[in-house]
């Protein structure tokens, strides 16, 4: 498997702004397990086997509460359903075959998907030259960096939980919103054509939050967003067809 160093570096550069959030969540995750006296291998193995933060949190909290295994498996899978959309959205861009594609699939978290979307947009707006970048290598670079930080911070959080108590005065909700707000503002600023859709989604996000919570809410917003975008494209297609006829 040949990896292109410049593309790996590009991926690392693109994911760097998200790393502080991964550090904080990794520490909190390790702390949660350590504080509940769960075995170290149990905590760290979720990070390198599953590598999906939200699902991992749910699994560990469910184990702490002695929940039955089958509902844990089903809920974890439902939480991760949104990843189906990520793979489909990147299908046309990840063209390589073999092990690289497996690696991209393993590393495709929310954060890596955001990085992939940023790189895609830079390529589409000619800020990055497509022939100079190996898209998969950039995703692998971003993914391996995120994976390493997440796993290291899980271990640090587990063993040094007592020292980390001061960190937890900041709510995890604030860390999530703070991490991705920057991307949302730049999306609004740099892509005026997306503003109407973003506005529609803000309203949908607010309204949906009254009925749904956590990862189910995330999934609902992604599906509603896709349906709205598809409806707009359908209307556009009908308009073009009526103009042609």
């Amino acid at each position: 498997m040949k990896l292109h160093q410049s593309s790996i570096k590009l991926g690392v550069r693109f994911i760097s702004p998200i790393i502080p959030s991964i550090v904080l969540f990794g520490l909190v995750f390790g702390f949660t397990g350590g504080n509940a006296d769960l075995p170290f291998l149990l905590i760290s193995s979720t990070s390198f086997i599953i590598f999906a933060g939200t699902a991992q949190f749910f699994i560990i909290l469910a184990i702490i509460q002695h929940d039955p295994i089958i509902p844990i498996i089903i809920t974890a899978i439902v939480i991760n359903l949104r990843h189906l959309l990520y793979g489909a959205a990147l299908h046309d861009y990840v063209t390589t075959r073999g092990f690289k594609r497996f690696l991209v699939a393993y590393l495709l978290t929310d954060e890596v998907f955001i990085v992939a979307s940023q790189i895609k947009k830079k390529i589409n707006s000619n800020e990055l030259k497509e022939d100079m970048i190996h898209f998969e290598d950039a995703l692998i670079g971003a993914g391996i960096f995120a994976w390493s930080v997440w796993n290291i911070c899980t271990i640090v959080g587990y063993y040094f939980s007592d020292l980390l108590v001061t960190l937890f005065t900041i709510s995890s909700d604030f860390i999530v919103a703070g991490t991705f707000l920057g991307y949302l503002i730049l999306q609004w600023k740099n892509f005026p054509s997306d503003r109407l859709f973003l506005l529609e989604m803000i309203v949908i996000g607010l309204v949906s939050s009254f009925w749904f919570q956590s990862s189910i809410l995330l999934f609902v917003i992604l599906v509603l967003g896709a349906l709205i975008a598809m409806f707009e494209q359908y209307r556009e297609n009908v308009r073009v067809m009526s103009l042609e006829s």
Binding site: P17, D110, I185
Partner: protein, 109 residues
């Protein structure tokens, strides 16, 4: 006790890990022909924007499902907007957000 927990849960983690890998990879590897059209593509291209909204709006304005806009956390995030707008650095939002929040917590006890 530790050994029992580990031997029970590691296979569970492997199962969930495989399911997650499958969900991430299935359409990355095979996109059915019926999904290869402009309408569906538009829907899939919207996922990144929807994800940003899903990660910002509920986590900013809701606490455990309750609408709570009048908090210092919301104020801190609003104060971050001009910083990002002019600096164009998305990574600043968390760092400056935490700094502003700490400042507000001192000013508003």
């Amino acid at each position: 006790m530790e050994i029992t927990e580990i031997t029970v849960f590691i296979p569970v983690f492997v199962l969930i890990g495989l399911a997650t890998f499958f969900m991430r990879g299935i359409f990355l590897f095979f996109l059915p022909r019926f999904m290869d059209n402009s309408i569906l593509k538009k829907g899939l291209n919207s996922v990144s924007n929807s994800l940003l909204i899903a990660l910002v709006i509920p986590f900013t304005f809701f606490v455990e499902g309750v609408f709570s806009p009048w908090r210092v956390e919301v104020l801190a995030l609003i104060a971050v907007i001009p910083i990002i707008w002019f600096s164009r650095k998305p990574g600043y939002s968390l760092i400056f957000g935490i700094l502003i929040l700490m400042g507000l917590n001192i000013l508003i006890p």
